[in-house]
């Protein structure tokens, strides 16, 4: 993988400066970054969850939540309070330590993945050179928590759910990573900030038209999106939960705050994956292809923005994320769950070959031009 990266022409090598790096001390930026990541981690899923409630409700001729808070916006907060109050049941036959740890093992990687994702010009906690690699690696650890929960519950439905999740992860991790590699090949960097910058500078072959990667890599985007849905166990790929077959899959035995942690992981995963897709394919915080944000001068209008430019960039980024979350909800409402064998068949017979084809095409194009 490193070979691919170094062989490409990297326009961006230096690590970008985060706007959270204030002052010379070590502790202040650290606290600011912690607050930033935790804030996104807890607020993002709430917003995504509210969007899901409302959009799903309207698509099903309902209203969704209306009572808690203005227009029901505080519904998920109320749900959270309820979950905290609930009794924390642990089955007597369960492997208690593993059972108790599993939700945390699922939750923490989802939080860590947010560390490197840029939400605007300079708005990120950390710009790792291996950012893309890090995000994919961290988000894959989540499934370990799912497997642990399914195994330790001492319940056959939980076990089925956990194993399905494991099988699903292996099957869809491959196309997901292959699609992401194609982006890294085209951008010539694994840094997420660098990928955004590469998109700002990418011109259609021989012309001066700026394009986001979603156009040249439409196939890759499709593969990434479907694989991300499957990774997150979102309908129509929610076999690990499969509430009509497996009671509630690996979450069957969980209640109270632990159950809430699993749910939080799922919605945080939605936000993370959507953010990743925006960064990889949809031009990050750019308003339109080739249009620099107002107030931004350096580096193609991507950095050193004023307050308005930064805020606008963050707004654009969040808007794109919510749009993708909405599409995920939309698919959930429109499609029924696939069968387990269909899921595996699609992964190995359709997605993996297509992802390989996509990678080959991108690599050839990169070498030719």
């Amino acid at each position: 993988m490193m070979l691919l990266v170094t062989s490409g022409v990297a326009p961006y090598l230096a690590q970008a400066e985060s706007i959270l790096d204030v002052g010379d001390t070590f502790i202040v930026p650290l606290l600011l970054k912690l607050a930033f990541v935790l804030g996104i981690f807890f607020v993002g899923p709430l917003v995504a969850g509210y969007l899901e409630h409302k959009a799903m409700g309207r698509m099903q001729h309902r209203r969704g939540p209306v009572e808690a808070g203005p227009f029901g916006t505080l519904q998920l907060v109320a749900d959270g309070i309820k979950f905290i109050q609930k009794e924390d049941l642990i089955p007597s036959a369960a492997d208690k330590w593993v059972f108790a740890m599993a939700p945390g093992v699922a939750l923490v990687p989802a939080m860590l993945a947010l560390l490197v994702i840029p939400f605007g010009p300079g708005v990120f906690a950390l710009d790792l050179e291996l950012g893309l690699f890090y995000v994919l690696a961290a988000s894959s650890v989540s499934v370990l928590g799912v497997l642990m929960g399914g195994w330790s519950s001492a319940n056959k439905f939980s076990l089925f759910g956990g194993l399905r999740a494991g099988g699903q992860l292996i099957a869809y991790e491959l196309p997901l990573i292959l699609a992401a590699i194609a982006v890294a090949v085209q951008a010539g960097t694994l840094s997420l900030v660098g990928i955004v910058e590469a998109q700002a500078e990418f011109m259609l072959f021989g012309t001066g038209i700026n394009l986001w990667y979603v156009i040249p890599q439409l196939l890759g985007f499709g593969i990434f999106f479907v694989a991300a849905l499957a990774e997150l166990s979102r309908p129509p790929f929610d076999m690990p939960i499969g509430d009509s077959e497996l009671v509630f899959g690996y979450m069957t035995e969980y209640s109270g705050i632990k159950y809430a942690m699993y749910m939080l992981t799922e919605y945080a995963g939605m936000v993370t994956m959507s953010a990743l897709m925006v960064v990889l394919y949809l031009g990050g915080w750019q308003l339109l292809p080739g249009v620099p944000l107002p107030g931004c001068e350096a580096a193609g209008g991507l950095f050193d923005c004023g307050v308005t430019g930064t805020l606008l960039g963050v707004g654009v980024m969040l808007g794109k994320i919510l749009l993708l979350v909405f599409v995920m909800v939309w698919l959930r409402v429109a499609y029924p769950r696939l069968r387990e064998d269909q899921l595996q068949r699609i992964a190995w017979l359709v997605m993996v070959p297509l992802a390989l084809l996509n990678l080959a095409l991108v690599t050839i194009a990169k070498v030719v031009y």
Partner: protein, 431 residues
């Protein structure tokens, strides 16, 4: 996916359907803030009219969930006639439906042969504890106040058996009355006898005063509402109060009139005004049709109007006859509700002026017929109106004995009715 369609088109169609619905109005009804209009015979809760229940146990046995609990005891009723056999009857002690088990199949309501169980549309009786869903008799009785009236019959429907039976009876009475009139005419040559007969008939009629119950006693109604009673209950009680008052008033008038009759000329008071109810009052009929009433109703009302007019005319004639001192010439009997003073009769007729059915006039005849009941009556034959009263003395005594308030009330009611009957019997005996 249809084989002709390109692959994947079905997936897009699915997305199209859902996005279309996103922009449509949700069909949610914000329930506690808004309320739906329920179907008229909604199955909300089961109401019990315990006075109808004979403890036949059919409902309890038919209930698929066995969630109706009935307890009763037997009581011996003294023989109705001298030397008769004492009878036993069941008295309901407990009737409970467990709504945590009930599946609202309605079999109990269907199967009850005595119309003791009814569906009420009330549905907001959820509880925090399952045990509270066991509704005992008093609660089931309260639901009965919320049962909507039965829907009207379809136009041209066959009348219910009890109504058509009553109508047939009335028809017979009328024929009988007609025959009597003929007889009376033949007996017109013996005026002294008729004059002697009349006051007696007037007297016999006294306890049988009948008042139409459409009106309510506003005073009683207000008082009950102030006491916090439900509007429905207050209305029904106020109605009863009105009937009672009206009866008392009419009775007093009748007595006064009776006294007059004895003193002066009794004949016209007891005269029978016979009106042929086949005719209709064309004027009324036309007016009602013009008002947009259906023809059937217009005809019925016009008939009633005709009968009323005709009666008034005949009565006036009879009165003028009396004025001339030749009252015995036309010794007709007035089949008014009172069978006594024409003034009271007119009032009684006014009271049922709103009645739309054609049996208004026949009823009058029926009432008149009962006045001719033989003087020697048994306790059981006497009908006492207004069983709403209770005998306070008996009630207090029973409560003091530790009986439940409900049972005490029921027994006190029975005691009151019995007393009342006895009093009437004595009165008649004395007369």
């Amino acid at each position: 996916m249809a084989p002709s369609a390109p692959p994947g088109i079905g997936l897009l169609k699915g997305l199209g359907v859902t996005i279309k619905h996103l922009f449509q109005r949700p069909s949610t009804l914000m329930y506690p803030h808004e309320r739906d209009v329920l179907a008229p015979r909604t199955r909300g809760v089961i109401a019990l009219m315990d006075e109808n229940c004979t403890v036949c146990m059919l409902c309890s046995r038919e209930c698929p969930d066995w969630c109706i609990y009935i307890e009763s005891h037997k009581e011996t009723v003294p023989p109705a006639k001298e030397g008769g056999r004492a009878r036993t009857r069941n008295v309901l002690d407990r009737f409970a439906i467990d709504f945590s088990l009930c599946m609202y199949c309605g079999i109990c309501v269907e199967v009850c042969p005595f119309d003791a169980l009814w569906w009420s549309p009330e549905f907001e009786y959820s509880e925090y504890e399952m045990g509270s869903l066991l509704h005992e008799m008093d609660k089931l009785r309260e639901w009965a106040d919320t049962v909507p009236p039965p829907p009207p019959l379809d136009e041209g429907a066959v009348l219910p058996a009890e109504v058509s039976d009553a109508l047939a009876k009335v028809e017979k009475e009328r024929e009988l009355a007609a025959a009597k009139e003929l007889e009376a005419k033949q007996a017109a040559e013996a005026p002294a006898e008729t004059a002697g007969d009349a006051p007696k008939k007037g007297k016999a009629a006294e306890p049988e005063i009948h008042v139409k119950a459409g009106e309510i006693d506003q005073e009683a109604f207000d008082r009950l509402i102030a006491e916090g009673k439900s509007e429905r209950m207050a209305r029904s009680k106020a109605k009863a109060a009105y009937v009672k008052k009206e009866k008392a008033r009419l009775l007093a008038e009748a007595e006064a009139a009776g006294g007059d009759a004895e003193a002066e000329s009794p004949a016209p008071k007891a005269a029978e005004v016979k009106v042929d109810a086949g005719e209709i009052d064309q004027e009324t009929f036309d007016r009602l049709i013009a008002e947009g009433k259906p023809e059937r109703m217009a005809r019925a009302k016009a008939k009633a109007a005709y009968v009323k007019k005709e009666k008034a005319r005949l009565r006036a004639e009879a009165e003028s006859d009396t004025g001339e001192g030749t009252g015995a010439d036309e010794p007709a009997e007035v089949p008014s509700e009172l069978g006594a003073s024409p003034e009271a009769a007119r009032q009684a007729l006014d009271a049922d002026g709103a009645a739309t059915d054609d049996d208004a006039a026949p009823e009058v005849a029926a009432e008149a017929a009962t006045t001719e009941a033989p003087a020697a009556r048994k306790l059981g034959d006497i009908h006492v109106e207004g069983a709403g009263e209770i005998d306070q003395e008996v009630f207090d005594q029973l409560v003091a004995e530790g009986k439940s308030e409900r049972i005490a009330r029921a027994k006190a009611k029975a005691a009151w009715v019995k007393k009342q009957k006895q009093a009437k019997l004595d009165e008649e005996g004395g007369a």
